[in-house]
Structure formats: structure tokens, C-alpha cells
Symmetry: C2
DNA sequence: TTGACGGTAAACAGATCTGTATAGTACGAC
DNA sequence: GTCGTACTATACAGATCTGTTTACCGTCAA
């Protein structure tokens, strides 16, 4: 996947600081000077390691995606052996804890898409990959429940999922993710 | 509300061009020089009329919100007298036609929020207002159906709504809005 | 007829943007 | 002990950012 094996200490520091900078302030609002200063690295080093800001943006998204998938799978596939129906709902528990801990400003990939309209931007594939993975993961979980029309149900759950992230970030719906989980349970039970 | 009465011809032209520029390219990616050139206006005029780019951003969102509300109410309250349950689902029809015609890059307000992290930015209220209006409008429509737990149901529909916009813009779910409407119908019928 | 208003044209200020260039230091491997 | 690697420090290039300034031209109303 993301071979972070070859990362030098300075490069590692850069990727650590952009995780917060890009997410908190937005991609365009963060210049390479700020990145270098925050990481305690010279711009020379920064360009020697990555070649361009766009590459750093791509790595930012890829690394965040990796952390996100780890979080989700850790929650959904936690030992204790929950049944398939329960595992679907655990997806929303994973989202809830992720939102509280790391995502107050909404989905980083939706936000990145807002800032990167160019379809040829090197970071664009990372955005589509994250969304496709969530959808595929939901499809697999739903299929395991034996629900009717699993693809359609997974698509509905996916939209509840993404909508809950939006609702939580704009802060107009109290308990957004919990509400989304309740709705997901209804849709799921109706299809069993 | 937005008193666009006092708008001079040049100012009107500016607001017309930023509607597309900001939405298509993103707010930070569009400079005032580009705005002035595209509107056929000098920067002097631009600053005489608006005072700052931030004000233009605020007006951009307010005007888009006004157009969006007009579109939604025109679809939902179209003559023909649909019943309350049908009117709820018409919200999703309104979203579908809006997405196809004006929203291929997702919700302008979610995108703007991604680019404007500062809670004190003058354009921020416009973002919250749009989301609050959609939620309130759904609440009213749901209440008219006599469904149980109308606030909770409206919140679920709101999340399906926002999620459908995300799903359509990232283009991983074919027929996203139609799927969201089907899920909405299920939730609605279960509460009647 | 005078003066306010809306506008053009064009230069400028000062900051910040991505990216490059030059020069030199510390260190580990072979 | 020499060579390559990773790094610092710093200056620079050229573009672009928001915003200001000066000078001038119509038009319309009091």
C-alpha cells in the first residue's frame, strides 16, 4: 500500500504535522513555508523528499485513510464475535467515536474534494478510494446479514453514513450519528 | 433578507460570475483579479461596491441559498395538491433535479465550510442558515404527515438528504438520490 | 451648471504562494 | 578516510494574493 518504510525522520515529521494542518485549516490555506516551519524542517528538505506540495497532499489523504480503516475494522471486527446485523451497526459506532476524536470538521475526503476540483490532481484517487472502500465494506457486512437487496441497502446505509458526518460537522442535528444508527437499524430490520 | 435592490449593474455582474467561479473552482482558488476580469469590471469598482472578498463570498452563498430554496419550494409546493407524505418525497425529487442541473460538485455550503474553518468568517452564518432551513422544512413536512416522532424522523431524512448529495458528487453510488428517496419512503411509512 | 455617482484604466503596495539555488554540516558504511 | 545521504540555513525567482491609490470619463438630477 503506502510504503512508509522509506520515510526519513524529517519526512515523517512533515507528514505528522500536515495531518492536523490540512484538516484544521484546509489544504489551500496551508503553505509549504508553514509546513516546513511546523515540522522543524527546511523547504529544501521538504522538496528533496516529496518533490511537490501535491504529493504531500496525496500522502496526507492516504495516511488518513489508512488510520480510518484501521479504526473502523478495529471496532467492527473486535473480538467478542458479534453477529452480522450487529456488525453493520458497529460501523456507526466507529463513525461516532471517530467524529468525536478526529473529525469535528467533517469528512476530510469530502473537504479535500471541495478544494481539489481538478480531476487530474494526484490526490484525487485517494478520495474516491476512501469512499469506495466504505461502500464496499458496508456491502460486505450487509451481505453477511442475508438481507434482501444488499446492494441497495448498503447504498442507503452509505448515504446515512455520509450524511451523519455532514450533520455532525454543521452541528444542527444533536446526536446525529446515533440517529443515523437508529435509522440504519430500521432499514436493516425491514430487509431481514 | 438579502436586499439586492441596491445592486448596481457592475455589482450584479460580479455576483453572477462568482456563482459559477466559486462553485466550480473553489473559493480560495478564485482571486479578485479573476472575478473582476470575468465580470468585465475593474478592481476599483469591485472594492467600491463590496469592500472585501469576504463580503462577496457571503453574498455568493446567500444568493445561492435563495435560489435553492426557491427551487425546493417550487417542486414541493407545486400546484396539483399532493398529500403530506408525497410532499416529503418531493424534497428528494427537488434534490435530484438540483444535483443534475446545478450541483455536480456537491453541496456548495458543505464545500464552503471545508474552505472556511474560521468560525468568525462573515460568510459562516449563511452556511448554518441553509442547513437549518432544510432541516426545519423537513420537520414541517414530516409533521404534516402525522408521523410518530417527527423530529427524529426529520433528522434521519436530513442525513439521507445530505448523504445523497455527497454520494452523487463522489460518484460511487449510481442513482444515489433515487435510492435515498426509496429509503426515505421506507422510514416514513414505518412511522405512519 | 455643478456635483454626486458609477464607472474605466492602470499602477502600486506588501504579503504570500510554490519552487529553486547555493553553501555548508553531521554521520554512517564500505 | 572517503563517499553518499540527510539535513540546515538562507537567499532568491516569479507568480499571485488582497487591497489601495491616482486620474479621468460619463450621466443625471438638484
Amino acid at each position: 500500500m503506502t510504503e512508509q518504510s522509506a520515510m526519513t525522520p524529517a519526512a515523517e515529521r512533515v507528514l505528522e504535522v500536515v495531518e492536523n494542518l490540512f484538516y484544521d485549516k484546509g489544504i489551500h490555506a496551508v503553505g509549504v513555508d508553514m509546513i516546513a516551519a511546523e515540522a522543524g524542517v527546511t523547504k529544501k528538505t521538504l522538496y528533496d523528499r516529496f518533490g511537490s506540495k501535491d504529493v504531500i497532499v496525496r500522502l496526507y489523504l492516504e495516511r488518513r485513510d489508512a488510520r480510518w480503516r484501521e479504526h473502523v475494522t478495529a471496532v467492527v471486527e473486535q473480538p467478542g464475535r458479534f453477529g452480522p446485523r450487529r456488525r453493520v451497526l458497529l460501523m456507526f459506532d466507529a463513525l461516532e467515536s471517530w467524529m468525536a476524536a478526529e473529525n469535528p470538521r467533517g469528512c476530510a475526503f469530502v473537504n479535500a474534494l471541495a478544494e481539489l476540483p481538478d480531476p487530474d490532481h494526484p490526490a484525487r484517487p485517494a478520495i474516491g478510494d476512501e469512499k469506495q472502500w466504505v461502500l464496499d465494506y458496508l456491502r460486505q457486512l450487509v451481505r453477511d446479514t442475508g438481507a434482501r437487496n444488499p446492494r441497495k441497502l448498503a447504498a442507503s446505509l452509505f448515504m446515512l453514513f455520509e450524511g451523519a458526518a455532514v450533520a455532525a460537522s454543521v452541528d444542527v442535528v444533536p446526536g446525529a450519528v446515533a440517529g443515523a444508527r437508529d435509522a440504519a437499524r430500521q432499514l436493516l430490520d425491514a430487509a431481514l
